[in-house]
Symmetry: C2
Subunit: 243 residues, 2 copies
DNA sequence: ACCTGAACACCGTTCAAGT
DNA sequence: ACCTGAACACCGTTCAAGT
């Protein structure tokens, strides 16, 4: 009764775009991309397939919209501290993406797709703008801004894509159990390789077993940032003893 | 007649695993992942669907096998020069992957998937072993080998994933025309954004328009390598004036 | 051992029809 | 304007049957 103000709403609109997206995200979180079928969605919403097409469009657009919703929410939390360093703010953005994908595994594939196919869309724009500004603040010369930012984004996407491991199947028996099993399998497989042909993999088995994904990700960011700083200083001729 | 030596071959085997994979790769190259249907494949091979399942298994295994075939071929070309530097050899591997994906766009998605889901498979093993050895030769301390190699592989995968742009649709009107159009669209879209909210994207439009993907990729590798070297030297306490 | 192809259980998408 | 749901044109996969 109170909401009679909405224009052009002749009949009672029982379904909204947000409701559809929320239901879609639930299905995706529970069972991966394969679990998001139009039929499963309409059943959950107790509606017909046409309603989904009316409100959000085809399945691909539905996936894009769900991606945009989650990424926007993940990036909404501003910089963690006043006066944080540029390095810290870049790390914050990267970790926000990392954590979003940890919570929504299907995002790994979809985020890359979105950035690749829709460079003018809000997801790509927000990520590039957030990181790019800090690259400037880092002291990278203006002519290298695009190169530097692209390198950071590429690393972040590559690293973060490794965490959408379990795909089409069910929600599974808790990520920890899966994780243990996964690393056990990998390390025994690597150990069974011919040591003559694979000295590196043999040497690295213990490190692989004990590494923490999130820590490794942060170290990776630090490495890329160190590379940017190093090359900048070579370019500008600043004596390297200043850092 | 000459081949009567093959054991267990009662009847004339008219179809081989390689023939199926070759036909699959042709379909993938021509029309992307969406074009590889069991029906299209069996029509091209003039056979029944059961034959495909008999020789290579389900569609997912077919895609994995095709990926393995192409990546193995791409990595088969050895180091380009005797006595090349570790940096040069890492760049060679990276460029081999870059070029393979430029030729087979569908590889972008599938290579990441393979590395993520099948760490003990030949594709992952070969890439990690090739790069990992050079990381050692680079002087990275042994305890950081896995971290350093993972960072490189993550960057390479992330960067290289950006080049499988056109997906399900047809082979298109030549990549150059597509490319021009794509960058035109992106730059006008970025220019239309509010300059107050997006100073970085506005500043970077000309760089985006003129950049060369392959060059940018090589610079990115150089940045990551610089980061590895820099951090190594900080750890080992080598005075930074030596480089 | 190798291959056929009909049959099955799904898909995404459209669209005339209803309110 | 908003929604329904039958109908359509596809999928991947299986499996009894053939040679």
């Amino acid at each position: 009764m109170a909401a009679q103000a909405r224009r052009h709403q002749r009949r009672n609109q029982v379904l909204s775009r947000e409701q559809i997206l929320d239901a879609a995200i639930e299905l995706l979180d529970a069972g991966g991309e394969g679990a998001l079928t139009v039929r499963a969605l309409t059943e959950r919403l107790a509606t017909g397939s046409g309603a989904v097409y009316y409100h959000v469009g085809a399945r691909d657009e539905l996936l894009d919209a769900a991606t945009e919703t989650v990424i926007t929410a993940a990036l909404a939390t501003g910089p963690s501290e006043e006066g944080a360093t540029p390095e810290g703010q870049i790390r914050d953005v990267a970790l926000a993406l990392f954590d979003a994908i940890a919570e929504h595994r299907w995002l790994a594939t979809r985020l890359t797709l979105q950035i690749v196919r829709n460079p003018a869309g809000p997801v790509t724009v927000r990520i590039f703008e957030r990181i790019g500004r800090q690259v400037g603040a880092l002291g990278v010369p203006r002519a290298s801004w695009f190169q530097a930012t692209s390198t950071l984004v590429h690393y972040i996407l590559g690293a973060v894509s490794q965490h959408g491991r379990i795909d089409g199947d069910a929600s599974g028996v808790g990520p920890d159990a899966d994780r243990e099993e996964f690393f056990d399998g990998t390390s025994t497989a690597w150990r069974e390789l011919d040591p003559e042909d694979h000295p590196f993999l043999h040497a690295v088995v213990p490190q692989m077993r004990e590494h923490d994904d999130r820590e490794q990700f942060q170290s990776g960011i630090a490495i890329v940032l160190a590379g940017l700083t190093h090359l900048r200083q070579r370019i500008e001729g600043v004596p390297c003893t200043t850092y």
